[in-house]
């Protein structure tokens, strides 16, 4: 039997008239990377909020490590960490102060050491003493993710971790996610980008009109579509490849 980190059954949620989730089911295996794919307004954030005990579902059940999110929220919060869609950082504090604050709230014995390690790991050492309000979007996102890693939670939720980042910063975030997974952390991420899910996820679920319309490994999902026709076309580099090539050259100089 495989170990299940997240189990969701028949989840439904409405906001007044709007029936956002109409019966969502899925499972996430421990230690895997699971991507929930969906367009704007599909209900990805709603699923994340229910799983992180910020919102209550109307119908259905969700368990995290065997703990029900409604009846055992404290136990759920012990094992999770959330990086919400919009950076949840304190703008008035410095980067270091933000990290120390979370380390203290996680009751770690040496918050300063934890903060220093993360500042190094996320390339924020030089900006450590600056107020977060002066950070770029990418730096803010890195700090946000770093704050979520404090205390080594078993399960991390990342709600659209790369939306709004440039390709370089995006790849950095991908690297972090892969490292987390290699360390045994279960990662639940949402995204609007197919290629992100392709890059990272062991399993991909597509949320559409309130239901999971497809769920499987990348291979399984590809098989759902008609086989790709083989055509001979000159391959144009993607914008991303061009951008990275130029950036790469700059840094070599």
């Amino acid at each position: 039997m495989k170990d299940i980190a997240i189990e969701v059954k028949g989840l439904q949620k409405s906001f007044k008239q709007l029936h956002v989730l109409k019966g969502v089911d899925f499972e996430v295996e421990k230690g895997s990377i699971f991507a929930l794919l969906g367009s704007n307004g599909a209900g990805k954030t709603t699923v994340v909020k229910i799983l992180t005990t910020l919102l209550k579902q109307d119908i259905g059940t969700a368990t995290i490590n065997g703990f029900d999110v409604v009846s055992k929220p404290e136990s759920v919060r012990q094992s999770i960490s959330l990086t919400g869609q919009f950076a949840a950082v304190d703008e008035i504090l410095t980067g270091r102060e933000n990290l120390i604050m979370i380390a203290k709230l996680r009751h770690l014995t040496n918050p300063r050491q934890v903060a220093d390690d993360l500042l190094n790991r996320f390339g924020l050492k030089d900006a450590a003493e600056r107020r977060v309000s002066t950070y770029s979007g990418g730096m803010r996102r890195r700090l946000d993710i770093a704050m979520s890693l404090i205390g080594k939670p078993q399960l991390i939720f990342l709600d659209e971790p790369t939306t709004g980042l440039d390709p370089e910063a995006r790849i950095e975030v991908w690297k972090v996610v892969k490292e987390l997974s290699e360390g045994g952390t279960t990662v639940f991420l949402t995204t609007q980008y197919l290629d992100e899910a392709e890059q990272l996820a062991d399993r991909i679920a597509i949320l559409h009109e309130g239901r999971i319309i497809a769920n499987g490994t990348l291979e399984e999902l590809k098989n759902l579509f008609p086989p790709a026709k083989v055509e001979y076309v000159e391959k144009q580099p993607t914008l991303e490849e061009i951008f990275l090539a130029i950036i790469g050259k700059k840094e070599e100089k």
């Binding site: 005990t53 136990s75 919060r77 919009f86 008035i92 504090l93 996680r106």
Partner: protein
């Protein structure tokens, strides 16, 4: 569960440290909160003061309690503002998804409100001393004054919490404080109520500010406090209980 309760006070002090940093990094809050009451004090003492008949020879002594209440009433507008900004920014979501007591975040703001208002009260008293304020009160009456002011701050802070938690805009979060700032003007804070028309006088004598002002004034001047202190305490504690229940209800609804 137990560990969450065990850490409640340390979590709350982390929250307090956080919002105190916010206050000290935006000095304009402290300045706004102390300058306006000080300006009122200057205006009333040096402009209107000569014409006002209060039956005392030291008008600064007469005026100070009301000025302190105005300062606290304008100070708590910032409590509502900070709470509103936290609700908006998503940092509360982070706190609420962590294994810490949910109310620690809210209590952090309440404590911050007490500390920051205490600072502005002290600053204003120092300015009043320069302007000629003198008190013969000993340690105990001063402690009683501090206690009443703390309860008044707490009462207004919980009202501010309701506003900050349920507001839809920044302006909405602070708007509730204007009528409260205005209350001392229709009380015995600046002039005795005897000269007011009957209806205004009835209101002035039966609203909370008058009993609080009278109680503080009596304590500071070494007069017998009489009933005023009990009426003042009843008002403060009554408001605290009601506002606390409503604020907690809003908080639970907003934070699932």
């Amino acid at each position: 569960m137990d560990s969450i309760k065990k850490h409640f006070f340390s979590d709350m002090s982390v929250m307090l440290g956080r919002s105190m940093r916010h206050i000290f990094r935006s000095m304009d809050t402290i300045i706004t909160v102390t300058i306006m009451p000080i300006a009122f004090m200057l205006l009333f003492v040096y402009v209107f003061g000569g014409a006002i008949q209060t039956g005392t020879d030291n008008y600064v002594n007469y005026l100070l309690p009301g000025i302190l209440l105005i300062a606290i009433a304008s100070g708590i507008a910032y409590t509502a503002y900070r709470l509103f900004m936290d609700m908006q920014s998503g940092i509360f979501e982070r706190f609420h998804s962590m294994p810490i007591a949910r109310s620690a975040a809210l209590w952090g703001h309440v404590l911050t409100s007490l500390v920051s208002n205490a600072i502005s009260v002290v600053v204003i008293i120092l300015v009043a001393l320069i302007m000629g304020f003198r008190s013969s009160a000993g340690v105990l009456p001063w402690l009683a004054v501090a206690g009443i002011l703390a309860l008044f701050t707490l009462a207004l802070t919980w009202i501010a919490a309701i506003a900050g938690l349920s507001a839809k805009s920044v302006d909405g979060a602070g708007a509730f404080s204007y009528p409260i700032i205005f209350l001392p003007f229709i009380s015995s804070a600046f002039v005795p109520t005897e000269t007011m028309p009957t209806v205004v006088r009835a209101f002035a004598e039966n609203q909370p500010v008058t009993s609080i002002v009278e109680a503080i004034r009596a304590l500071l001047s070494g007069q017998p406090v009489g009933n005023d202190i009990w009426v003042a305490l009843a008002w403060c504690i009554g408001i605290i209980l009601v506002a606390y229940i409503f604020a907690m209800r809003v908080y639970k609804r907003k934070a699932a």
